[in-house]
Symmetry: C2
Subunit: 343 residues, 2 copies
């Protein structure tokens, strides 16, 4: 039997708010008797959407404010102390919930989580980490946009955190860590990447070296480390290509009566293909480095996608991620100091 866990959901975040979050919550609870959820948000709207549904292991925590998707993080932090997002994070802070999930404004979620929960010792900045489908199953990537200017030390901390996440959640013994870089000789990499390469090379991590953009999807690597600007561009570009290809394929099957017929016959194959590529199966990014578990769902997530993000939060609770990361970061930093002293 799984360990009991309680997860707070920001019911008002994302493009669809409580419509999606409530549906995801009910579906998740039906399959997980060990879990309890707290829906944080506008009580009236949530109650209306819940209707006659069973409220077993489900609580509502009423709030009066919402953080807009385009609101400046500093403003949200200052003025929205009774927002669904803030209160969901507060519940993690005061121990009522062990994790929270939000599809809201990424910047506001980051700032608020950092302000309320605080960073783990030795971690300078939180990083956003998610899995993407790849040739050998999936690859984790971080940072995906929390930090636009990173030092080599930040990249190294990201590597330690991501590695530990994969270790705990995927059960991979020594995750293969790659550093995102470009391939040209001499003009290879910027200063931060060069220095991070040095730090990783002499670390205890299973560092496999540089990975180019295509390696995220093709290389035998478990974790790809990048600064937030580069990581975000890599992720978004990939999403763009995938959409474009899907669109073109659909278009090709709609051109003539023959291609339409071929499309009908190939439908089961195409559906299966689409299922394995379904971005909803990968929805849910972890904010790593905090003294608490926060999972960011895609703003446009539907109920299936949002439920996936709840499962990610659950996995992190069961694996005790913040504590594990705290221990590992400490160990690796002490380790690298010792290395420098003896080197």
């Amino acid at each position: 039997m799984k360990q009991r866990c309680t997860i707070a959901l920001d019911a008002m975040g994302g493009d669809h708010g409580p419509d999606v979050v409530v549906a995801a919550a009910l579906s998740y609870l039906a399959d997980n008797a060990h879990a309890e959820l707290i829906l944080v948000g506008n009580e009236e709207r949530i109650t209306r959407i819940l209707g006659d549904a069973s409220r077993e292991r489900l609580r509502i925590r009423a709030t009066t404010q919402e953080v807009a998707m385009d609101e400046a993080p500093s403003k949200a932090l200052r003025n929205k102390k009774d927002s669904s997002m803030r209160v969901a994070i507060d519940l993690v802070k005061n121990g009522e919930a062990q994790a929270c999930v939000s599809a809201g404004n990424t910047g506001a979620l980051m700032s608020t989580a950092r302000f309320v929960l605080k960073m783990l010792p030795h971690v300078d900045r939180p990083a956003i980490c998610t899995a993407v489908p790849s040739l050998h199953g999936h690859t984790h990537m971080l940072d995906l946009g929390a930090n636009v200017d990173c030092t080599a030390e930040h990249l190294f901390q990201f590597a330690v955190m991501g590695s530990e996440l994969i270790c705990a959640v995927d059960g991979v013994d020594r995750p293969r860590v790659g550093l995102l870089n470009i391939g040209q000789e001499e003009i290879k990499g910027n200063e931060q990447v060069k220095q991070a390469h040095e730090l990783l090379t002499r670390s205890g991590l299973n560092y496999i070296g540089h990975v180019e953009g295509d390696g995220i999807f093709l290389a035998d690597v478990d974790l790809v480390v990048a600064d937030g600007f580069v990581g975000n561009v890599a992720l978004k570009s990939s999403e763009g290509v995938a959409k474009f290809i899907g669109n073109s394929l659909k278009h090709q099957f709609k051109r003539t009566w023959y291609t339409r017929l071929a499309g009908l016959i190939a439908m089961p194959v195409l559906k299966n293909f689409r299922r394995t590529m379904d971005p909803r199966r990968y929805n849910g990014a972890s904010l790593l480095g905090l003294r608490g578990i926060v999972v960011k769902s895609h703003g446009g997530a539907d109920a299936i996608a949002f439920e996936n993000a709840i499962y990610i939060a659950e996995k992190e609770i069961l694996a005790n991620i913040p504590q594990r990361i705290g221990e590992q970061v400490g160990r690796h930093l002490v380790g690298s100091d010792q290395y420098q002293e003896t080197a």
Copy 2:
């Protein structure tokens, strides 16, 4: 009738050397009576591959050295003065050819071209620019790896150069220019991107603002500007996803007898789809900002892909790209100075 033009081909560059380059040259010449090619490289090997083929409008320029694909650019520049790459660029410098195409080592090609041909006035650095397929046809991107640390001024120069290339080669009147950025509020962009945004906003370019990674393939934009690190990662990530998707699709069609049959029936559609996505149709990246035309082919290019790169060189000759870029960069820089004085 097209204007007469002469293009020098580095016959020894790339993974396949003269096998690919000679085949591409013959195919190109057969269709282009106005053009003349110079094959630069190992005379004996080239002659053997040419065999009985017609040598009309085809010359060989014998060289004794080759630049290795992994050779340090500075070493190539210093020690390989009779390499096929160097001599092909020399031919452009001394006017024997109006452009050169190489599938060799990108870093060495960049350094050598810069050293031999020199930069255009007002341009600090060359940028690598290529087209990628997109929802509305294709989108040009630059820089793709020539410059890892760019200032706002560099990004601005890239925008002017890319814009002029599209204007001349695609016949687009005022190309829509986007600046690659990430979407998170407040943490939006790094310093260079923020400043480049200012420069572009008050420029005479048709600047449409920030574009996220997915916009390269989905947005209504003709040119996406980024520093070389980010641009390279975006391009390579996209290539990786496309390969991964192609691979998964193939796998899905091979699973059972039904899916194999469906695959056979859908074959014409899938082939057509693959043709529209064919990276060979987009092979050939322009090195912009130099006082001469240099086109970089993918190292792994086959003859069809390499021939496409020759066509890109031809287009740039007919459009007189270096001169046009020189004029535009001068005009835009003077323009922005005036703006600052009157602002």
